[in-house]
């Protein structure tokens, strides 16, 4: 009896002292090593926070030889919170070398264990150092974008302040914009309406906004010349904004009596339903001038060709590069890309808007210089193989590529 108690006491004491040696294994779920010469365990398990994000994500990575004597069935990933509770979070295929854990909380340390499951058993169980997910307050991968945006905004604001001092700024003539008044005049002489289509997109598209700013100037002209204006729209919010724009333009022209809510009318959100309705309006009402300003897709050519068919003078403007060739082919004048955004400044004659165009031009000059310098250094780098040129061209290329 005495021997038995001494035996149990000594065993307990021994276990008490040696238990830290097994601590890691206790944390690890079933760390069975069956045959270390055949089954290879994942090594170098590293957990880390990813930069430039809102946190709540940790990356776990591990090393695993590309060629294995036996392929494991799966890789099991376990997560430890506060070093005590283990949770099986995912199984991944053996060829995967990292895993993004998106179910973590910010500010809590997590450790990970990665194990390989073979037909004969499970190997591995090394536990990573703790990693903490945290949110960043500035996305450093966008610093190039930030700097370029800052330069462009400085150019635009600089010119606006410059114009405020009373400096006159010259802008080149754009034939398409000058033709708008000519088109409205032609419609007046012929006693026919002017059709204005502000694209097929909603007010969250900047091209629609640009289209409506041009509509404001067109509406002032039609009010002045007492010409009928017809503005079919494909979005309800565009209808509300368009009505407000035309109403104010008629007020500004001193002809509120000519304004009617029916000038701007809703047709349908459906692309081809909208086109069919406008084609019908064109064929029935035969407007003398058709103006398309905004975002267009496949409907561009259908509209422009129908307008051409009825012999209307057509002016189009869009920033959709794929639709520009169609408008160029079928319309009398086309505002290409940036000219659509310049049109309202040009038509309104507002000095601050014109100043912003000058700022835009400076931005273009900056882009041209940047492209030319990058091309020069890239060419020199290829021809000479010089490390200095390569470094500069790589830097310039990285500067312009947003990650």
């Amino acid at each position: 009896m005495r021997f038995k108690s001494t035996y149990w006491f000594s065993l307990s004491l021994l276990l008490f002292f040696i238990h830290p040696l097994f601590a890691n294994q206790v944390l690890s779920p079933n760390p069975t090593v069956t045959n270390p010469f055949v089954e290879v365990a994942p090594e170098n398990v590293v957990a880390k926070d990813l930069p430039n994000n809102s946190g709540k994500v940790l990356q776990v990575s591990w090393n695993f030889p590309d060629t294995l004597p036996i392929m494991p069935r799966t890789i099991k990933i376990y997560r430890y919170e506060h070093d005590t509770i283990s949770k099986h979070i995912a199984d991944v295929t053996p060829n995967v070398k990292s895993f993004l854990d998106t179910s973590v909380m910010n500010g809590i340390p997590y450790r990970y264990s990665v194990q390989a499951e073979y037909p004969t058993g499970i190997v591995g169980g090394l536990i990573s150092e703790p990693a903490i997910a945290k949110a960043e307050w500035f996305d450093r991968s966008k610093i190039n974008l930030f700097v370029i945006a800052l330069i462009l905004v400085s150019f635009i604001l600089g010119y606006i302040f410059y114009s405020e001092k009373g400096q006159r700024l010259f802008i080149r003539k754009i034939a398409g914009i000058q033709a708008i008044e000519e088109a409205v005049g032609r419609a007046t002489e012929m006693g026919k309406p002017v059709l204005f289509v502000p694209g097929t997109q909603d007010m969250d598209n900047v091209q629609t906004i640009a289209g409506l700013t041009i509509l404001s100037s067109v509406a002032k002209m039609t009010a002045k010349y007492e010409t009928k204006l017809d503005v079919p729209v494909s979005r309800s919010i565009t209808m509300s904004t368009g009505r407000e724009t035309v109403h104010e333009a008629y007020l500004a022209a001193g002809r509120p009596d000519l304004y009617s809510d029916d000038i701007v009318h809703y047709i349908t959100d459906e692309q081809f339903g909208f086109v069919a309705a406008i084609d019908g309006i064109m064929v029935r009402d035969r407007p003398a001038a058709c103006i398309y300003m905004g975002a267009f897709f496949a409907e561009s050519l259908i509209l422009a060709e129908t307008g051409n068919g009825i012999g209307a003078i057509q002016i189009a403007g869009t920033a959709m590069p794929t639709q520009l060739p169609f408008f160029v082919a079928a319309c009398d004048y086309t505002l290409i890309g940036e000219e659509l955004f310049a049109a309202s400044a040009y038509l309104s004659g507002d000095k601050r808007s014109i100043a912003s165009l000058k700022g835009q031009d400076m931005g273009k000059a900056f882009a041209i210089v940047l492209i030319a310098v990058t091309a020069l250094f890239s060419t020199l780098s290829v021809i000479t193989g010089n490390e200095f040129f390569t470094n500069i061209s790589t830097f310039l290329l990285n500067l312009t590529i947003s990650k």
Binding site: A135, D204, I302, E305, L340
Partner: protein
């Protein structure tokens, strides 16, 4: 959440004040545009919450507004066409077709005619709406879309008349690209030796698309991007306010 609540309060407050005080009717929308615009620009560079959430929330708000405004659009459509029918204006018969179509589709869609359960989507198999969509809407849409084939031909015929130097270049480039995309293009110049492979029509066609065409498109894209930045900045700063109906009042 704090930002969203603040914004909502600002929005409600401005609507309320602008309702009673006429001079504020443009000031508050401008203030709101400035605040929202700057917030969304800042959100692009700050990954920490609530900024990424703000972008999602704002586009959701837009959808909510769009849903309500659809009633406005539908109402306007009905009003315009009913007035036309009542006053027997020119081509008023077409308005009957429009109004009838609108009402039939609306009723069938709202009451889910032919649907077994109310919880089924309105485009579920077996519903009258689905039948109308497949048997009427899709063929009509395809018909209008297929008009493009004829319009492309007529527009190309006009555009490719070699009247000027530029039109001639356009004609030659278009001809090479068209031929280069067909088996004839491959067959015509397949005999060319290796050093002259650049002049093989499919290669020439690819070169035109990926070098001069791409360069032109990129130049246009840079201009568009600058135009968008400038227009957005003008709106945020309240320089461009024609979307508010101008600054005359």
């Amino acid at each position: 959440m704090f930002f969203l609540t603040l914004l909502l309060l600002l929005l409600l407050g401005s609507v309320g004040l602008a309702f009673f005080i006429r001079p504020l009717r443009k000031f508050f929308p401008l203030l709101l545009t400035l605040f929202t615009g700057l917030l969304l620009v800042v959100a692009l560079f700050i990954p920490a919450q609530p900024f990424p959430k703000l972008e999602e929330e704002f586009s959701m708000w837009f959808d909510v507004i769009a849903v309500f405004s659809f009633i406005l659009g539908g109402g306007n459509l009905l009003r315009v066409h009913l007035m036309k029918i009542q006053q027997k204006k020119r081509d008023w018969q077409y308005s009957i077709v429009t109004v009838t179509g609108f009402v039939i589709v609306l009723v069938i869609g709202l009451f889910k005619v032919g649907s077994k359960n109310w919880s089924d989507p309105y485009l579920a198999q077996g519903t009258a709406f689905k039948w109308m969509y497949d048997a009427v809407f899709v063929p009509l849409q395809a018909t209008i879309f297929s008009l493009l084939a004829f319009f492309v031909a007529s527009a190309a015929f006009r555009a490719f008349r070699a009247k000027t130097r530029e039109a001639t270049i356009l004609l030659v480039a278009a001809f090479i690209i068209l031929i280069g995309r067909t088996p004839v293009g491959v067959w015509l110049t397949s005999w060319l030796p290796n050093p002259l492979q650049f002049f093989h029509i499919p290669n020439l066609s690819t070169w035109i698309l990926s070098v001069p065409n791409m360069a032109g498109q990129r130049a246009i894209m840079i201009g568009i991007a600058l135009g968008i930045i400038s227009t957005s900045l003008k709106m945020i700063l309240g320089i461009e306010r024609s979307w508010l109906g101008g600054d005359e009042s």
